[in-house]
Amino acid sequence: MVEIGHFALVLALALSLVQSIVPIVGSRANDPRLMAVARPVALATFAFISIAFLVLTWAYVVSDFSVRNVWENSHSLKPMLFKVTGTWGNHEGSMLLWVLILSLFSALVAVFSRNLPDALRANALAVQGWIASAFLAFILATSNPFTRLVPAPFEGQDLNPILQDIGLAVHPPMLYLGYVGFSVSFSFAIAALIDGRIDAAWARWVRPWTLVAWIFLTGGIAMGSYWAYYELGWGGFWFWDPVENASFMPWLAGTALLHSALVMEKRSALKIWTVLLSILTFSLSLLGTFLVRSGVLTSVHAFATDPTRGVFILAILTLFVGGSLALFAFRAPSLTAGGIFQPISREGALVLNNLFLTTAAATVLIGTLYPLLVEALSADKISVGAPFFNLTFGPLMIPLLALVPFGPLLAWKRGDLYAAAQRLAWALGGAILATMIVMIFVDRTMLFAALGIGLAVWLVLGAITDIALRSGIGKVSFAAMGRRFIGLPRSAHGTAIAHLGLGVALLGIVATTAFQSEHITTMKPGDTAEIAGRSLRFDRLTPFKGPNYTEDQAFFTWIADGRELATLTSAKRLYPSRGMPTTEAGILTRGFSQAYVALGDPTDDGGIVVRIWWKPFVTMIWLGPVLMMIGGTLSISDRRFRIGAPARRRPSAMPQPAE
């Protein structure tokens, strides 16, 4: 049974090699029959990798411990959900998921590319084939999930307990859909470079794929952040951990790509930059895969002790990043520059957006890799952690966020900054008002926090202003405004909602970071602790036995204004098969805010250490990304993507007029 999966994987590699070579030979020789090979082969590769993946999942479901991977990461008593999700909760399985998603995207490109020029489609699918071949070879050579164990053990070693969680069930697939989704824009960029032709129609084909990847990456990052928040038990939502940075860098570059592709699609400008950004975004995805999968992050030396996997991915990384950049350098000069625009214009605003986002991505990149660089070049070790990133990344975001509301209000080509500022006057008034309210009524000492809240309100009101102006506020009647609002292109709604989400997320981040209260104390049953004007009563501590763990559950009652409003349960859990304790934080949501209770060690006199937080507006941190995802989805459903891209314009001999 398991050998079927193994065999399917080998076949998938063979098919990927065909997909890598035949279509591109066809496009060079201008042979439609060879180019036509790409689509069926892409679909077949997807089918075979799916078979391999299903077989591995099946081995987990039936707890087939004769498979080494299952034995290492599963246990017969594990709940069924975690048996299934455990398939990708380990190195080999997650790499298989990676190529599964890659082949899924290739298959989707094959299906949804009927109106693409044959050569572009054939080349793009061939590039997808290169990536798939490299990673399939990597899996088969160094990380085979189908290796057998003889004799088969009776019981497995269980999955790392902190990974036995519904958050993990969804987090990696979403993250990979994002990471790997950027391979499509990469493949299209390489295909265009091979072809030597690129125009606005290209941007229109690529943009929906970029959006899909971006939506999933946004969701994956937000979900990972929420998972760390409730599962790790110390109430943080972002740690600037290298693994987090590995997913954040492609997000920053991908966000820049979304915006530059917009300029290219609408105005045919920034072509070369957009192609470069497509390459860079996927390169950062590959780099993230390398950083997380090679073990290089723990230490350069840890990497050197078992180098096979790391060196293999490093070779893939070098090949693809180096190769694509070389191709870019070779071809870029032959690409023609597009439309011209004034610095004060929608294009200008989007260029500024790109400048700040790429600088931010580069800052995160350098901060993440610098300790490795220092360690490699000298014997010393340095640390680059959260305080560094807060100090450098923060200041880069402030001007960017402050400029966001202006962008959508400026006209293409030549904008009027003064008019845009006038229209934003009430949003600015609202932001100043919010800042003053925080200063006067919440905390007079926290000027920066108050300004942060003001900036968040500015973003929210700016997004509302944008959509209200497009609906014709002040120009038409209220009923007509409603009709206009509904009739607006979906991408206009998408932009406003995504920018609104940005403001909401910022509000959550600033409010939680600056105004959370924390209380650390020892409690016995019946004790009451005060936090942020509310109180929490510790009722009792009871043991509980789950399917594959035991835990001590502590029950609390949340009291505000003298009334018992809710109960909450916090627990310390022990997974005997790995002897690992975990914290199951008790979380109580009131409005947008949350009370967060984590248990510590018991004390000698029968009490237990309890850490309580009141986190105002904390849920907005993840509500914001949800809004961004909704905005992105609305944008994809825009009519111009559904009706398909227009036929490619013939390259004209004359210089293009500036329209």
Binding site: T298, L355, A362, I382, P387, L391, T521, A598
Partner: protein, 150 residues
Amino acid sequence: MRQWIAAVLILIGLVMPALAVRPDEVLGDPELEARARVISAELRCLVCQNQSIDDSDADLARDLRLIVRERLTAGDSNTAVLDYVVARYGEFVLLKPRFSARTALLWGAPLLILFAGGLVLVFSRRTTHAASPDLSAEEQSRLDAILRDR
């Protein structure tokens, strides 16, 4: 052997239920305690992966937290406390590396990149402008001819 111990410690640091600061550590003076928390957030837990001593439950992190509080109670300034810890544990303990010849590139990178990007923008704008001057008389007449045809 030492590597094994380190590996085990890293695992413990990762999986211990993280309840970092314990009630018996908290200083009586809220102002001093607040300073202690700020300093703790800048110090790395040496046996954990990318965790500050403020977040970590490892014993070594607790020892460091106690040292920080001890020094603060003795009347040290924040920088003096950091100096004290760095003198014993090396630069590695700082999550925010100090500015030096070795870290100049790290700290300078954001501004450098932003500045370089800005320069590229200015120059690329100049070149596009130079490359596309106003229409010449001949081009203008051709354009007029095209427009007349429509």
